[in-house]
């Protein structure tokens, strides 16, 4: 229960920071995608199940505000990203920062390509390389940079939660 609440608060915080604060200090027209980062992090730290749940609900939040009246599109994309990151759970090792960066970068590539194919290519925007250069690469690079800064705090929160859960388990068994 505690975990659900903490995840919920983390998603909301990332969403708000991303849509307000970061717009004020953005470099160029692109901001790091913190929501994607948090979904990816919970995916590889906690496994497929939690990855897809966190993805689903943060996607739903984005849908409500920026879906243009249609719910479900972002929820589906973020859920897929969370689920895919769940596969990395097996090779994930908390102390190493290189792997998370690789995972988040991978998520960025998946996310950008899905958005491009379904929301741009299908509307006859064929100039793939221009979109990659102008939007996708800056977005992924910024998101990875944000991960460098925010990975430790997120890991710390996760370890606190895990310790807490272990304690309750000991009490109950």
């Amino acid at each position: 229960m505690k975990r659900v609440l903490v995840h919920f608060i983390l998603i909301i915080i990332c969403f708000i920071i991303q849509s307000t604060l970061l717009r004020g200090i953005q470099l160029g027209p692109v901001v790091p995608n913190l929501v994607l980062m948090i979904v990816s992090c919970f995916g590889f730290m906690r496994g497929k199940r939690e990855g897809l749940l966190v993805g689903f609900f943060s996607g739903l939040l984005l849908d409500v505000f920026y879906g243009g009246g249609i719910l479900g599109a972002y929820a589906l994309i973020y859920m897929m990203v969370g689920y895919m990151n769940g596969f990395f759970n097996r090779i994930f090792y908390p102390e190493d920062i290189k792997l998370p960066i690789f995972f988040v970068g991978f998520s960025g590539i998946i996310y950008s390509s899905v958005i491009y194919v379904f929301m741009f290519l299908l509307r006859r925007r064929f100039d793939v390389f221009a979109y990659v250069k102008q939007v996708a690469i800056p977005e992924i690079v910024y998101t990875v940079l944000a991960t460098l800064v925010l990975y430790r705090p997120v890991l710390y929160i996760n370890s606190l939660l895990e310790e807490d859960e272990r304690k309750t388990e000991v009490i109950f068994s």
């Binding site: 307000t20 009246g69 929820a75 109950f172």
Partner: protein, 295 residues
Amino acid sequence: MPRVRIKHKRIELDSKYMLLILSCVCILLMILTFSTDLVVKPLSFVSGYLVVPFENGIESVGSYLAQRAEDLKDLKVVLEQNKALQDEVDALKTENSNLIQDKYELNELRQLYGLGEKYSGYDTIGARVIAKDAGNWFSIFTINKGENDGVRKNMNVIAGAGLVGIVTDVGPNWACVRSIIDDASNVSAQVLSTSDNLMVTGDLLLLNKGQIRFSQLVDENNRVAQGDVLVTSDISDKYLPGINIGYISSIENDNNNLTKSGTITPSVDFNHIDIVLVIKELKNETIKLDGNEDK
């Protein structure tokens, strides 16, 4: 303590099935929300009171700090500009008096034609931009006025002199605006001088240059030129007619040699939108009202 253990063991769904179920939920939601707005209402209500107050707070603190920083930076520039502007004011004063004369003349002529001031005085409501789209692929923003303040879906949004966009989503205390520079935005427009119709489409790739694209301009006699003013057209079903969009900055022939396309410099500075005006009048309603008057 076996009893407590039983309590802990719940039936856990395999993540594969969970993914399948939630995917179906997503697709169902998409279909459902595309045809009705039953599901959106409660969700937008809850999230409106969950997120918007924070966004409002952060935005006001942020804009205050940004304002102070800007003030210091601007002071020097402003002093220089002041001098130049003073000269301009003198010139404009002369021009203004000429224009006022013209305006009286115009009003008289309008009355003669029986047009009246049908579209000059819209009822508007001011709103503050509190958040921008969380991703980088679209240009959508949130404003701090919603259903409680009389904002409805498909209302036009303007800032300063020009068209900003259209309301796509409304919550109790927030509304979502799709700006005309958004890649998915299409506005039917016309050239003010020649009344030729064309389509104005946002383009993500031109976003950095502060430009938007237009197309489907039929102009056989080459009367439309660079610098011509574009306004929203009468035939649009969502945008009210006669709202300024921008100026043509480049124009070229299409491959089919029938139509022309090019780029537009919008009259609104989309990088620094802070306060916008929502026109509290829907195109459909205006048409209906006009119809009633005729009867």
